[in-house]
């Protein structure tokens, strides 16, 4: 044995007990199982999507058609799904990022120490509300309040493409605009949680140094906390983006019921990858039809995999660089 710090280095003879062997292989086996599981997700989705992709009559990536009613004549493309998915997630990010950053700063730098924990708990409670309830709330309670604002945006900023007329009325409530705001609420705790943790780790010496130079609290934040935590904040936002991309039921409830393709405005309704699959579950009888939806699921899987992987990478890189 070469490692000097190993506790058993000087033991005369290493006894390997049966119990040890069994337990270790159980634990290691579980580790291997988990890794195999994520590989299996990719493999099985690919396997099931492949026949349908081959039978697809239109270009999968660039077609705006989704017609899987005839299993012998499948036509499905993901352009529209991709637009609604990405647009609603981006609207959510644009709203949630500044707010989360503000909350994280408030909780770590401003709130009195005794209140910081209960306050953080309140924000975490947002994550405890199931997404189906957010969907209901979005349609029934939030949308009526947002509608005047949506109409105003549509009327006055209609010359900006994303605020132009969509495939539903701006004040219908069932559009990307409403969906994005609901998503923003849903990903708020995710982003805030990560950001709060990073901001908390700002070295006290940096903060005290800035204070000693006579910096105001805002200047302390700007010169020490923010530069230190920026990457963590970005990583956390990516995690939030991953959640938003995969969110299903809230969006199914808010956006559903339109068969016209979107006009690439935030006043579009339609379906995201996830909500399309949820809505299509009634069609899950024929393997070829299911395969079309599994293809969409595969794209979503790859997308969220990439976003989450980048998020973790940014997070771990930021931790290392500043340690």
């Amino acid at each position: 044995m070469s490692a000097p710090e190993a506790p058993a280095a000087d033991a005369p003879k290493k006894v390997v007990r049966a119990g040890d062997r069994v337990f270790q292989s159980l634990a290691t086996g579980s580790g291997i199982f988990i890794v195999a599981l994520i590989a299996a997700v990719g493999i099985f989705l690919l396997l099931r999507a492949f026949p349908s992709l081959q039978a697809n009559q239109v270009n999968f990536l660039f077609s705006r058609v989704w017609d899987t009613s005839d299993p012998n004549n499948l036509s499905f493309g993901i352009t529209d799904l991709a637009w609604v998915t990405v647009a609603s997630s981006l609207v959510a990010l644009v709203i949630a990022m500044p707010v989360s950053c503000g909350i994280a700063l408030f909780l770590t730098q401003y709130a009195p120490r005794s209140l910081a924990r209960p306050f953080a708990y309140i924000v975490d409670l947002l994550a405890a509300v199931p997404s189906v309830v957010y969907g209901l709330w979005g349609v029934v309670a939030l949308a009526p309040v947002l509608n005047p604002f949506a109409s105003w945006l549509n009327t006055n900023l209609g010359w900006v493409p994303i605020f132009a007329d969509g495939n539903v009325r701006a004040d219908s409530g069932s559009n990307i605009f409403t969906a994005g705001i609901v998503l923003a609420v849903m990903i708020l705790p995710t982003i805030t949680g990560v950001t709060r943790e990073v901001f908390q780790r700002t070295p006290t010496a940096h903060i005290e140094g800035a204070q000693a130079l006579g910096a105001t609290r805002w200047e302390v934040v700007r010169t020490t906390v923010w530069p230190f935590g920026r990457n963590g904040f970005i990583g956390g936002s990516m995690l939030g983006l991953g959640r938003a991309l995969g969110e299903t039921v809230a969006l199914t409830i808010i956006l559903s019921g339109v068969n016209v393709g979107p006009n690439f405005s935030i006043f579009d309704a339609g379906a995201t990858f996830a909500s399309k699959i949820a809505l299509g579950s009634a069609e899950f009888v024929n393997d070829m039809q299911v395969g079309a939806y599994i293809s969409a699921g595969l794209v979503l899987f790859v997308l969220t995999f990439a976003v989450n992987a980048i998020a973790r990478w940014i997070e771990s890189a930021s931790g290392k660089g500043k340690a």
Binding site: R17, S30, G31, L37, V41, L125, V132, G246, F284
Partner: protein
């Protein structure tokens, strides 16, 4: 020192503690207000959601039938019936999911901390757990559909749902087990080894019990999270209005499924059921969360 006019006009001896300029004061005040406002912005939807839930969902919960009956035989406009079938379905699926996720997750956590620490494979496994924790629930559902239903040929059932929930719950259990095992002091392990206790017995009898309260808390939180998932339910199980305890065969109701399905009724009675189920679901989740925090507090005193 530079000598612009400003410096010349000021007394030279007091550089550090000058009174704050107006601009800096305003900026500081604006920032403080903004960050406080951000927190308030987060609280508004929370209170709003809870208020809407109570306003629309409290009436059904106050009727005795709600807790003891199912929706079996109910017409669209009928205000009777109750959520018992869905409550049982939700708890049943949660229980089966936990029975699989907890041992699996804890074992992975043990591998990561006690056996594989810092090894290359442990890094791969940690990354996998990260990815799993970001897996969209609909993809988990689709995977189980592709594996359990298409490939193995089983029917749609509550058990398939429980399997898909395992994918969502395991990362939570692993993460919390890891954190808790890391907190267990190495002295404890070394003392045990010194007495000649084998490693596996040390883990089972010394390390795990020390970390138990934290792990249990994490398990409850993970469970609370997966019980509200709706997406896998839509593709993996049929909705049943009657009470069923059979998780392997036939339709099985659950609270999220009731909310989603009954919404399409479009009647006043349908709304009544939807919001009643929504409030019940949130109550169940809040209760589990509460139990988790009580548990952690209770156990924490004992171990110290």
């Amino acid at each position: 020192m530079r000598t612009d006019t400003a410096d010349v006009e000021r007394p030279a001896a007091t550089p550090a503690f000058q009174p704050l300029g107006f601009g800096r004061k305003v900026k500081n005040g604006a920032a403080t207000t903004l960050f406080g406002a951000a927190f308030v912005i987060a609280v508004i939807p929370l209170l709003w959601v809870l208020f809407t839930l109570l306003q629309k969902g409290l009436a059904p919960l106050l009727k005795a039938d709600w807790w003891s009956h199912s929706f079996n035989g109910l017409t669209a406009n009928d205000f009777n019936g109750g959520i018992y079938h869905a409550l049982m379905g939700t708890l049943l699926e949660g229980l089966v999911c936990a029975l699989i996720s907890v041992p699996l997750g804890v074992l992975v956590g043990i591998y990561l901390i006690e056996y594989g620490r810092d090894s290359r494979f442990a890094k791969v496994a940690t990354f996998t757990v990260d990815i799993l924790s970001g897996l969209p629930s609909i993809v988990a559902g689709l995977f189980i559909y592709a594996l359990w239903i298409t490939t193995f040929g089983f029917n749609r059932s509550g058990f398939a749902v429980a399997l898909s929930l395992v994918l969502l719950m395991v990362p939570v259990v692993v993460r919390v087990t890891e954190t808790m095992l890391l907190i267990v002091p190495d002295e404890l392990r070394e003392a045990s080894y010194a007495l000649g206790v084998p490693k596996w017995k040390t883990i089972v009898k010394i390390v795990l019990p020390t970390a138990l309260s934290g792990i249990l808390t994490g398990v409850m939180l993970g469970l609370a999270r997966v019980l509200g998932e709706t997406a896998p339910l839509l593709i993996l199980v049929g909705y049943a209005k009657a009470i069923s305890f059979n998780i392997f065969e036939g339709g099985l109701a659950s609270l999220p499924l009731v909310i989603y399905t009954e919404r399409s009724t479009g009647t006043e009675a349908g709304d009544y059921r939807v919001w009643g189920a929504a409030l019940t679901l949130v109550l169940v989740i809040m209760l589990i969360n509460l139990a988790a925090s009580l548990l952690s507090r209770l156990f924490a005193v004992k171990t110290k």
